[in-house]
């Protein structure tokens, strides 16, 4: 029956939108969409428009329907003006790049309705294999961080942006002397160009760059002359020795860019290229150390000595004169190493001249790096596995020189663009106090932080997704940085500030970059209307880089004498306990302290979230009386009980050096070097934001400019107090369950089917059969995944990517402590072997999408059932939250929303309805519109990115139209984790298609499923890890033995 229910006349309440797609015609929004032509947008001053712009954006949340018959009125607000290229609700992809120390990480940003929600690698780019790291994945959250600074401040008072622009204009006219710049290390041609202009405009200008974790370039310049950068060629290296160098993780300046070269050589099934061999010498477990075929524990301060001993062996083997003379000059320190280890390692290197590669950590003392260069020289690796390229970036003054200038009172006006030197500068500079001596400090930064506190001006900076820019990647390719939307809170970009100082009254980032592009591309005409130019330019933007712009190769002329001079300057290392400064896998050097995705991503080794901890070896812990944690009782460390850490509290210790003392929570780290303590930088920040106040411990106070990597002669004392830690994994041992399987290359050759002989029950059970016939999964697409443990290093990029793609909520430290983290994708980390020097095993764990899924049969309401395509589905809106499925999941990958994590402030979860409801408007913008935001009381888990699967299938249908859709192939797509993985360890696809790569991998000899004997038929296959030990090495017997000497036979 048909009734008309005329709706009561509308009252004027703020409109609501179901989808952001049909939003608003406000000028701001129009501009956002037209990110291509942002010139002359009203950015200045009026914070108001910005705010309701954000309000509009925020409105993209779904409606909450009232109960009862009267329908709440919702409104559709169409664009007033159609926006070109934007199709409501469809993703648009733009090439851009994220500036990093070494240059840039090429990215593709997925934007929906004008807001970027997800970042992926740019597969077209020569310096990228389409992968990213955790930081890049999480940087999109920084963009929307509600704690970002929003207002221009002078002397702590809000002022209009116009005032700051006037100030800049006045400087560029008056041309005062004593002008200085302190900037982050970037490789941006436009910035260099503007800098050049400024240097002419302001003679005597000091341009200083500082990166707390940047590689020290001094040694390179000394060894190969100025303007040279080294590019290692891993694909050519058969033997690699990493000396305190974590080149695989983002800790290296060039991040996962190296991966492309390295991982293909780790594949034992690869024909042609033999599997490479990796030696690692380090004091604590790094991702690289986890991959090592042979790993040697060594104090970071003794790595130099280790290199010297190695060099002597190599001299014996190669009689290289240059190296010999250098050895004469190198300082000697007493240390007892496993000489056999060194000898065999040296022999292995010497056996492979020109095909070996020795790397030293970028922050090791200059002479150590010099020594390593000359080892490579002796091995004839230069030009073979190590190439030199021209370094276009003009040299900048080190922070030291700026500091002297400030001390001398030569600096009148200091521009600090980005970075946070007041917090992370070397302690011996006492920069925080120095800055107060500078008459005018102008600070442009994303957050109001320690540096803003001591600056006259604080100006909100534009996020790299908000402003035009450019960069060179580590091998020199000229790369575009496109903004995805207008600055949310009116940030200004570094380039604009420089341009204004250069006298450009109305600078536009676009034009600035275009000019640089013209120069670099050698475009004949400089006329922006020129068709040829525009065509090239749009090409440049579409691909994200300028083809053939790689830096010119330079042959490496090794200058032994310079290196000798470095060595002579160096002194032997003092004995005693050392403190090693690490890059945090969560907050880098502290710049991501406000990024909750990263804060909650467990450290790859300790699995600690929201904190940094001091890592100590079992032996040292025992000596210092640091207790390990068993069954909730802190106990003295003995060989027996550092197996388990339950009930996460740790001893607080005091680290004292040169009269400066810091506190830190200490935990026992297997495989850590003795007499050495590792502490990640970037934590313990004050006044960043309420939520992250006093998380972790600040290690910078002990860090000096002389040795950025370590501090020797540390005195350690207990405090008697303990500190609560939030760890997502408490157990270290695999308990002989062979969830992770590995073997040596030899064994693999001898018995290619070795994985089948592993696994407690799996190996011996008769083939599991069912009583009844299983319903046949009929769809032509059957989704499955293969994870190659051989190349997975546990870097967590996949985990963060999953969080970004699937709107996985953050729960905060307190909740993680209650074992309520929500990660759909986690990295299980086990240790195998002796606690002193074990192997580290990293295993990506996610929903296995079992064909016979135990979780399904126990759900009383059919909220989780199976799809025809073999997906284990989870219907949130049907779930009532009995948690039975999670209990019955052998892999424990299901996650339950114990609270309304999306809607309530994390620190007020227990206040229930009394706490304010709703999330920050800007945080709504980062949510993926294609994934439901889960509410309290429902179960959730990995869906194999079903939204991407469905998108692909639908686009096939659209393409097929009135034809048989099965004649049209499903367009290629990747899951978020697969796309992010730098080592290509995750492969997803259709296992019903024999040609699909995943099908081949599932059938490979190394392939196995965990807990096979349960006969749940998982759709996730793991490929066993193959190690490539050197039989002559003393520890060879211990390598590849994660499943026990018997290799799994129990």
């Amino acid at each position: 029956m048909k009734r008309k229910l005329p709706h009561p006349p509308r009252e004027n309440h703020p409109a609501l939108w179901r989808s952001f797609a049909e939003l608003e015609n406000t000028p701001e929004f129009a501009h956002v969409i037209e990110r291509e032509f942002p010139g002359g947008t009203a950015r200045n001053g009026s914070g108001l428009t910005k705010r309701d712009f954000v309000k509009l954006m925020g409105a993209s949340v779904a409606l909450t329907a009232l109960t009862g018959c009267r329908r709440p009125e919702a409104q559709l607000v169409p664009f007033t003006k159609g926006v070109e290229w934007s199709v409501p609700g469809k993703f648009l992809y733009y090439a851009t790049a994220m500036p990093i120390r070494g240059g840039a990480m090429p990215l593709v940003a997925s934007t929906v309705d004008g807001r970027p929600t997800k970042l992926e690698g740019n597969p077209l780019h020569p310096a990228s294999n389409g992968a990213t790291d955790a930081f890049a994945q999480a940087s999109v959250l920084d963009l929307y961080d509600p704690h970002r600074s929003r207002a221009v401040k002078r002397g702590g008072r809000d002022v209009l942006a116009g005032e700051f622009e006037a100030y800049l204009a006045q400087i560029s006219e008056k041309r005062p002397d004593g002008l200085a710049f302190l900037v982050e290390r970037k490789n941006s041609p436009t910035r260099d160009r503007l800098r050049g202009e400024l240097e002419q405009r302001f003679p005597g200008l000091i341009w200083s760059e500082y990166e707390p974790l940047g590689d020290d370039r001094e040694a390179v310049t000394a060894a190969f002359g100025p303007g040279v950068r080294l590019v290692p060629k891993f694909e050519r290296a058969d033997v690699i020795l990493a000396l305190d160098s974590d080149f695989l993780s983002s800790a290296s300046e060039y991040g996962p860019a190296y991966a492309a070269g390295f991982y293909p050589r780790r594949n034992p099934d690869q024909l042609g290229a033999p599997m490479n061999r990796l030696y690692v010498v380090e004091n604590h477990f790094t991702c690289t150390g986890g991959m090592a075929d042979h790993r040697y524990r060594c104090k970071a301060s003794l790595v130099g000595e280790f290199a010297r001993r190695l060099a002597t062996r190599i001299v014996d083997l190669t009689n290289h004169s240059g190296l010999a003379t250098l050895l004469g000059a190198a300082p000697q320190t007493k240390a007892d190493f496993d000489e056999k280890w060194i000898a065999e390692c040296a022999a292995d290197l010497a056996r492979n001249p020109g095909r070996s590669l020795v790397l030293a950590g970028g922050q090791q003392p200059a002479w150590v790096q010099g020594l390593v260069f000359s080892i490579n020289e002796a091995l004839g690796n230069h030009g073979m596995t190590i190439l030199g390229v021209a370094d276009e970036a003009p040299p900048a003054a080190p922070l030291g020189r700026l500091v002297e200038a400030i001390r001398g009172g030569a600096v009148k006006t200091l521009f600090i663009l980005g970075g946070n030197p007041a917090y992370n500068a070397p302690a011996n500079f006492a920069l925080r106090d120095l800055l107060t001596r500078v008459p005018e400090v102008v600070r442009v930064g994303l957050f109001e932080d320690e540096t803003s506190a001591v600056s006259e001006w604080h100006v909100p900076a534009a996020h790299y997704l908000e402003a035009w820019g450019d960069a060179r990647t580590f091998e020199g390719t000229y790369t575009a940085i496109q903004p995805m939307l207008m600055p949310l809170w009116g940030g200004v970009s570094e380039l604009e500030v420089l341009a204004r100082l250069g006298g450009n009254a109305q600078p536009s980032g676009l034009e600035l970059v275009q000019q640089t592009y013209r120069i670099l591309s050698g475009a004949a005409s400089t006329d922006p209307k020129d068709a040829v130019f525009l065509q090239g330019w749009s090409e440049f933007l579409r691909n994200g880089f300028l083809p053939g712009s790689q830096a010119t190769a330079k042959d490496l002329a090794f200058r032994a004498t310079e290196v000798v001079r470095l060595a002579e300057a160096a002194a032997p290392v003092e004995a005693g306990i050392e403190l090693v400064f690490l890059q945090s896998s969560s907050v880098d050097d502290g710049r991501y302290a406000n990024n909750s995705w990263l804060q909650e991503t467990p450290d790859f080794e300790t699995k600690v979230t929201w904190d940094n901890v001091a890592l100590v070896s079992p032996a040292t812990a025992e000596r210092l009386g640091i207790r390990a944690n068993n069954f909730g009782l802190l106990q003295k460390v003995t060989a027996l009980n550092h197996e388990v850490d339950f009930d996460m509290v740790a001893d607080l210790i005091t680290l004292n050096a040169g009269g400066v003392a810091i506190e830190a929570a200490a935990i026992v780290a297997p495989g850590h070097a003795d007499d050495s303590i590792s502490l990640a930088l970037g934590y313990g920040r004050k006044g960043v934001s309420a939520l992250f106040e006093n998380v972790g411990f600040d290690a910078y106070p002990l860090r000096t400019s002389e040795s950025p990597r370590f501090r020797t002669a540390i005195s350690v004392s207990g405090t008697g107090r303990t500190y609560p830690l939030a760890r997502t994994q408490e157990h270290k041992s695999m308990e002989g369950r062979d969830l992770f399987r590995e073997a040596t290359r030899e064994r693999y050759k001898k018995n290619p089917k070795f994985v089948q002989s592993m696994g407690l029950v799996d190996a011996h059970n008769p083939p599991t059969t069912s009583l009844y016939e299983h319903p046949r999964l009929t769809a032509p697409e059957q989704w499955g995944m293969a994870i190659d443990l051989n190349t997975c290093i546990g870097c967590s990029a996949c985990a963060v990517a999953c969080q970004a793609e699937n709107n996985v909520p953050v729960v905060g430290k307190a909740e993680v402590r209650r074992n309520r983290d929500m990660a759909w994708m986690r990295i299980d980390r086990y240790f195998a072997g002796s606690p002193e020097n074990p192997e580290m095993l990293a295993q990506a764990m996610l929903c296995q999408h079992c064909e016979n899924a135990p979780c399904e049969s126990v759900c009383p309401v059919n909220a989780t059932v199976h799809s025809e395509e073999g997906l284990n589905l989870m219907a949130y809106n049907r779930c009532i939250g009995t948690r039975y499925c999670a209990n019955n999941c052998p892999w424990k990958v299901r996650r339950f929303n114990y609270f309304d994590y999306n809607q309530r402030p994390l620190e007020e979860l227990y206040w229930g309805p009394l706490a304010p409801k709703g999330m920050a408007d800007s945080l709504k913008m980062v949510k993926n519109p294609n994934v439901t935001v889960r509410m309290r009381g429902v179960m959730e888990k990995c869906t194999f990115c079903i939204q991407r699967i469905e998108e692909a299938k639908i686009s096939r249908m659209v393409q097929a139209g009135p034809r048989n859709k099965y004649d049209v192939p499903v367009p290629k797509f990747q899951t978020a984790c697969q796309q992010a993985c730098p080592s290509d360890a995750i492969v997803f696809g259709n296992i019903a298609d024999p040609k699909d790569r995943v099908t081949r991998l599932r059938q490979s000899d190394r392939g196995y499923v965990t807990l096979k004997y349960l006969n749940t038929q998982p759709r996730v296959t793991y490929l066993a890890r193959i190690k490539n030990p050197n039989p002559a090495m003393p520890d060879a017997a211990m390598v590849g033995m994660a499943n026990g000497p018997a290799g799994g036979h129990h």
């Binding site: 319903p775 999964l777 399904e856 059919n862 199976h866 025809e868």
Partner: protein, 186 residues
Amino acid sequence: MENAGNPSAPLYGVGAEFATAADLTRAAREIRGAGYESFDVFSPFPIHGMDKIVGARRSPLGRIVFIGGLTGFLTAVAVQYLPSAVIYPLIVHGKPTGFFAIPAYFPILFETTVLFSAFTAFVGLLMMIGLPRFNHPLFNWERFKGVSGEGFFAVIESRDPRFSTEEAGRFLESLGGSNVTVIHED
């Protein structure tokens, strides 16, 4: 003989009280012997073997309950099997949806059968003994209160063809009944 209830109101019957269960049993046997049809004996607890004496057949309740149970069983089949196997089968835990899914349905088949049976038993009971009935001529008889304490009563009802007030009263007295009373409705 005293009266109970409203003498002008219709007559219900004549009742007498007995001392012990044994006396009542004996009395019942006699009354039956005298050929009375509609009479009943009242006691604080079920007297063993009384049914035989008053010549009552076995209660049919059992058969009724069986039907109730059957209904419950079929309901459960309809609620479980049809939707999950026939109307809208889903792939759950790779388990069959057809006939071989039946074992999973046993618990509820059983529970529902018991539930329906129990309710039939209770409702059936009430129907057969004509409860709830709050008003009854017997309640007019003051001494009858004792029936739930330690009193034993026999009542010959007026609807018995051989009934006559005097005769019945005398007869009961002759059986050793005390406080013989004529019971009227109110």
